[in-house]
Symmetry: C2
Subunit: 556 residues, 2 copies
């Protein structure tokens, strides 16, 4: 594919100036050879264009190269664990923000903005919850050159910042439901190794915090929000997820129950938590004294039922891991800042000024037609770069659809295209591009989802024999097993699936992962097969009966 | 006005159940008396509804009460100088964000998100610029219970965070212009007294940072952005501003020149900086080594020309100060979360269930019609509150248009309305509300602007005699004076206009302000009258010639 435009370039040269044919062909061949290198002088070219490792061979390095070279992030040199989100990433995040905001506005959620700091006083109020965050809190102890009397922590999440005000604002059951959401960044000073999007010391997210009169009303909202999270993955990012509940071990510290959408990374077979919607029950309303008079029982007060729910820029990392390939990033059209790139081909120094102008005019008409049709489109008019170099560059950056347009296309009144997801090529009559290109983009979106969905389905294996678990994990599956739901049993399952043997002699690329499996979720969608009081928990050491099919896996 | 609904309520009662007329009238009178108090039992009512001071009598307290009681902000009790922005405020900010984002996208500005922290290393790079911020920096020195090896500061603005990456990303003149913008919060630990929106230790803003090949291209953008800022004030917030350049004394530290939009607060006659668009020149590109090869002179390199520009939540405070009145907040319709509130009146316990249902149905039809016409509308169906209490409540919260709808209105097929800005009342046939209400809202928007514009024009006084300056300031004016543009002269003018006399014996409400005046801007729109080399600088001690008409005033 890399030589395509170059070939056409030389063909066009042959036709237009036969005498210079050989020279042009030589130039084209040279351009094809240099396809993975910038060809312009005067530009600093000290980095290698293109991904240098295969996704299957070294997944972590592949990921790091993709997010950097596709210009999604930049490592923040000054402080480790922090990243710059560049326009390509922010476009995805803004698209999600718009989509989600519209939908939560519809159910009555208002936007708010609470301060970035927590006082140590309010932290003391809810020790259980805070315990988990304490090692990661960033403490401001000085302002200017003065020590603060009382240090303040940057929010790792805002329960303790917000709920004192819920106690103040909620004065009657008529003030319920109170539903507030904020988009901000939080800081969690992780000790573990950081990874762009997936684990960073600062990340962007939205956090919704709501209060309701009854458990039932709170529970309805928990699921409404979870469904929106699932749709963000499925409809915007083309990433399939499994909806379910977290086990007691894995639920939000201090909450009542946690629902989750869980994703799957085919390259290493790991599960990844996508986003969580928590019912906090009355735990926080008791700590923060958030009560109303019971409308059904005048004179007596009840503690409100609360939810919190959050979705972070992690979603972008999951999307990259699922869709990217050895050429780089592959973006689903709905979240791509640029959906279609037009690359003029077949124009060279032998083309007459008049022909060149005419070609440029047609290219521009194509661009304008597509723009009017709602396509986010641009033309790559950079001089000094060969078409093959441009093809690689836009493939690296994940643009879903490439349009090549040369004199032959112009003569045939068509555009030639190449899909980023499959590499498939085809032609569309220029007269039809206003409808056919948007349709093609939607097809790409759906095909990307379907491909990922097939992969997740094939690698979500229902298992009823313990001995099959570890081989299944090693074959990059997550597993659905009958499980007793006991927390200690869950811990034991993790131990039993952790490889303890010394592998220091085994070459890195032949090592099997040591990581044990943990529970990902109890899927809402339960297969048949568990008989109450009969089916055993799969853990061979466990004597309890299974309660549910639970999805386990190695995980992020 | 407060008794209006109550009167109608009693009239309707007379008609519907003559026997109970007296009782109903008594009840209505009582309701009217209680209009400024909640009438419901079971609700905590420990705060006083309504503003307790007049805007003309105690402006600072008036402002504080308005922003609190209209539920725009909440003081953050835990840490002084921080505030919670509630949905009413966030709606305004989101509206501005959408409006501005659309327009900067059009000129090619992309969204980005840089880390919240600055390392001490990058701070050292640009000492001049940082000097001004140093006393206000919040320092993180601990993570969890471990001291950081190198403390990090929370950004007060992001020049030092971003520009090292501009140096990395800008490798050729083809990478220019680079235009990035981010929406975030910054922390400036002010020692001065804080005021909601106007001066807070954390605030929301957008910060744009761009790089250009030439001074001319940078300068064009500076003005493009400034014009967008002016339009946010004028078209969204209905607040007039004067566009101009800052003097050397008042420009951005480390920049080349600063343009600004300046507002005016009639209640105290003070000027207030609205938003600034800076040309940084090549000062930062020299510090951060941001260069490209000069396309006009191969082999030689030039430093790029940079701009930065920011608009913060301060705009909301200016809007409150300009439009609010003794009843509370008054919102321009374009930024009002709720533009129209429908309050059903004339329905009481004597109304038959059937009539009540019919009335409610009509009210809902009105609401739906308005909603379809694009009006942000709601109905106040709260039980246990009298119409007058509701009128006060929505006036306090600044809703631009109130619709009252009683049985008499229903019979006449009209709605009755009251404008928040003027108090004017009128009626509109129900058949016309889909067009007439949106028109009325636009009229309110324009009238609010025109009123504020008249006030600013009347209080922007051109002065050519020094003796008239102080009396003009004391009459709540800002002044336009011929000025030499010298920084020391400007300092001296501030001293000369500062009241030094001991006023400790003067009662607080008879005191004239001590505050001296400073320059607000050099307006782009210069009156005639300054003759080069002839007109004197107005400062009686200054022997230089005037260069420009400069707007001076007491200021925030």
């Amino acid at each position: 594919m890399e030589g395509e435009g170059a070939k056409e370039q030389s063909k066009s040269a042959l036709k237009k100036a036969e005498k210079q044919a050989k020279m042009a062909a030589d130039k084209a061949a040279k351009a094809a050879k240099q396809a993975s290198l910038p060809v312009v002088g005067g530009k600093k070219t000290d980095d290698i264009i293109g991904i240098t490792v295969k996704k299957t061979e070294n997944f972590p390095q592949w990921y790091q190269e993709v997010v950097l070279k596709a210009e999604m992030v930049e490592y923040y040199q000054e402080i480790s664990g922090f990243f710059v989100l560049r326009p390509l990433s922010m476009y995805i995040w803004s698209t999600i923000r718009k989509w989600f905001t519209e939908r939560i506005e519809d159910i009555g959620v208002d936007e708010t903005s609470f301060p970035i700091f927590l006082s140590s006083k309010s932290l003391e109020k809810e020790k259980d919850h805070v315990e988990g965050f304490a090692p990661e809190l960033a403490w401001v102890t000085k302002a200017g050159d003065k020590d603060l009397e009382v240090p303040v922590a940057i929010r790792p999440t805002s329960e303790a910042v917000m709920y004192p005000y819920y106690a103040k604002w909620i004065r009657s059951h008529r003030d319920l439901p109170l539903r507030l959401n904020q988009w901000n960044s939080v800081v969690r000073w992780e000790a573990k190794q950081t990874t762009p999007f997936l684990r960073t010391r600062e990340f962007l997210w939205q956090e919704g915090h709501t209060a309701h009169l009854t458990e039932e009303l709170a529970g309805e909202e928990v699921l409404q929000i979870l469904e929106l999270y699932a749709r963000i993955y499925e409809e915007l990012l083309a990433v399939p997820v499994v909806r379910g509940t977290k086990t007691e071990n894995e639920k939000f510290a201090g909450g009542y129950y946690t629902t989750t959408v869980e994703g799957y990374i085919p390259s290493n077979g790991r599960g990844i938590q996508g986003a969580t919607s928590h019912c906090l029950g009355q735990n926080f309303s008791k700590m923060f004294d958030i009560t109303v008079e019971d409308p059904a029982n005048k004179g007596s007060h009840l503690h409100v039922w609360q939810n919190s729910w959050g979705l972070s820029t992690r979603v972008i990392g999951v999307m990259v891991m699922v869709h990217g390939d050895d050429k780089g990033l592959a973006l689903p059209p709905r979240v791509a800042k640029l959906q279609t790139i037009i690359i003029p081909v077949g124009i060279n120094k032998n083309t007459s000024a008049e022909d060149k102008q005419k070609h440029e005019d047609t290219v521009d008409e194509i661009r304008v037609t597509l723009k009017k049709a709602g396509v986010r489109v641009d033309t790559d008019t950079r001089e000094g770069y060969t078409p093959p170099w441009k093809f690689n560059d836009w493939e690296l950056k994940g643009v879903p659809l490439r349009i090549e347009f040369g004199p032959k296309d112009a003569a045939n009144k068509v555009i030639s295209y190449a899909r980023r997801d499959t590499g498939d090529k085809g032609q569309i009559p220029i007269a039809d591009i206003g409808t056919k290109v948007p349709e093609l983009l939607e097809t790409i979106q759906k095909d990307m989802y379907n491909k990922a969905e097939r992969s997740f389905t094939e690698h979500r294996i229902q298992i009823t024999k313990w001995d099959e678990v570890l081989p299944a994990l090693d074959s990059k599956n997550v597993v659905l097993i009958p499980f007793c739901l006991n927390g200690k049993c869950e811990d034991r399952i993790k131990d039993l699936t952790t490889r303890a043997e010394d592998t220091s002699d085994v070459p890195e690329n032949q090592k099997l992962p040591a990581m044990g499996m943990k529970s990902l979720c109890i899927p809402f969608d339960q297969p048949e097969g568990i008989k109450a009081g009969e089916t055993e928990c799969l853990n061979p050491e466990c004597s309890s009966k299974a309660q549910k099919w639970v999805m386990f896996g190695r995980s992020y």
